[in-house]
Symmetry: C2
Subunit: 306 residues, 2 copies
Amino acid sequence: MSVIYDRVALIGLGLIASSMFWAMKRNGLAREVTGYARSAATRDAARRIGLCDHVCDTVAEAVKDADLVVLAIPVGVMGAVAAEIGPHLKPGATVTDVGSVKRDVIENVGPHIPETVHFVPGHPVAGTEHSGPDSGFAELFDNRWCLLTPPEGTDLTAVAELRRFWEGLGSNVEEMEADHHDLVLAVTSHAPHLIAYTMVGVADDLRRVTDSEVIQYSAAGFRDFTRIAASDPTMWRDVFLTNKDATLEILGRFTEELFALQRAIRTGDGAHLHDYFTRTRAIRRGIIEAGQDTAAPNFGRAQKPV
Amino acid sequence: MSVIYDRVALIGLGLIASSMFWAMKRNGLAREVTGYARSAATRDAARRIGLCDHVCDTVAEAVKDADLVVLAIPVGVMGAVAAEIGPHLKPGATVTDVGSVKRDVIENVGPHIPETVHFVPGHPVAGTEHSGPDSGFAELFDNRWCLLTPPEGTDLTAVAELRRFWEGLGSNVEEMEADHHDLVLAVTSHAPHLIAYTMVGVADDLRRVTDSEVIQYSAAGFRDFTRIAASDPTMWRDVFLTNKDATLEILGRFTEELFALQRAIRTGDGAHLHDYFTRTRAIRRGIIEAGQDTAAPNFGRAQKPV
């Protein structure tokens, strides 16, 4: 593949940015990649493992002359960082982000981007429960969706270029309206994360009574929840606070359904339960057919090579 | 390893029984294994793939002369099947089960077991989202817990023998009181499953509005939920109906916590959210240290061999 942006700046050096770096290097998408993280410890760690061609000590230095600037930081600080980099952006450059919430980012980042710079918000729907500069790997985005949510009037060439870039990183790219994005993600990601956090918290309370039994006998259900609930606390706090309305709406629907199932259990309505569980099983098949997971059984251990 | 039971009968030929068969063969734990399933299609499938040394057409024939009889069927039908096999059991034999609920099984199976036969209830805490005779594999129980819940007065030699058998299948074995088992499993498995089923059902409702988007953009959170919610509907209906009290108690605690987090989102209490998420992250580390999962990142695809 060929170079798409001559110089790329990664702001924030966590799971997403470090995976982007390794994927860019794998496919030769950028000639030079600079990086910046607010924490000196993170910058040192990045330098130690060769993450980025240059790790800069100031964000201004990192974005200087960059053709693409990627904000890969928690949604809650995007606005402040955009204000900081605004004056240092190269005319004609593109700024994008990787936040899980899009309306809030558009409102808080947009005003700080100069007229001469293109702002194309984005969201790679990919991740693991790990975080930090050493958690990235080049394959993270392969065959995963990256959603771009350019506001009306965004330069079409800039959008097309960013699309080619994400395709080069391995993603399938789709454009969508920001509010619609936030609702869909509330269902597929934000509400499930809050629910997993909640259940693991409940189990933790019980653990105080029964010592380590909850951990010891963590069957499939709970084990998967703990993986979800091990995700980065700061990132997720910001997601819930900035996608408040959609998340609360979905949680409302969830509670309604849960109460109906609880009543079916209490009244012994086995047919209701069986019908419901049969319906949800079919959704799984849809996901496998959509290529977003494999049919290989997962029981919490590294799988044998197929 | 050496033969522990001369003749073992597997009643029900799904994920657990088929995995037990392959693990028994791997380690030479039984000289001969018979099998029975109520459905002729399942019996045919078992014969086709060489599951069991003999697949019998009646349950009476399968348990005849067996030294160990394993009830590997949904909890809701255990009592009826126990009534059927009771008269055909060999004096001195052991009957066990693999149900996810133990108090209900003891109450419904126990009365049908003759005085001359030992009944030792058990629960291998292992599984995948797949079911049926071709879903089993020999490694399913390796380093997983198997919980035995023998009622007071159970023959100690029979318990010790069954323990050695499960250790031979690869499990770590622990004994526990049946009611305590049902509470611990309500937390680690039963409530998480119901919650996953609920969330996937909510998403399914939304899918009607937004076509295939929910499936297409199934990020990590939802994808894990769909795997859990793809589990066998009959098995899970029976689990909820027979472990009703403990499941409803845990769901009550869950709802309480969820409401507190929803309120934190609504009021913008970021500190509450961050503290909660930091606490749940620590539980994940405990599970990895307990050997019940690996630290390898999971992003829904077969992992590369390490």
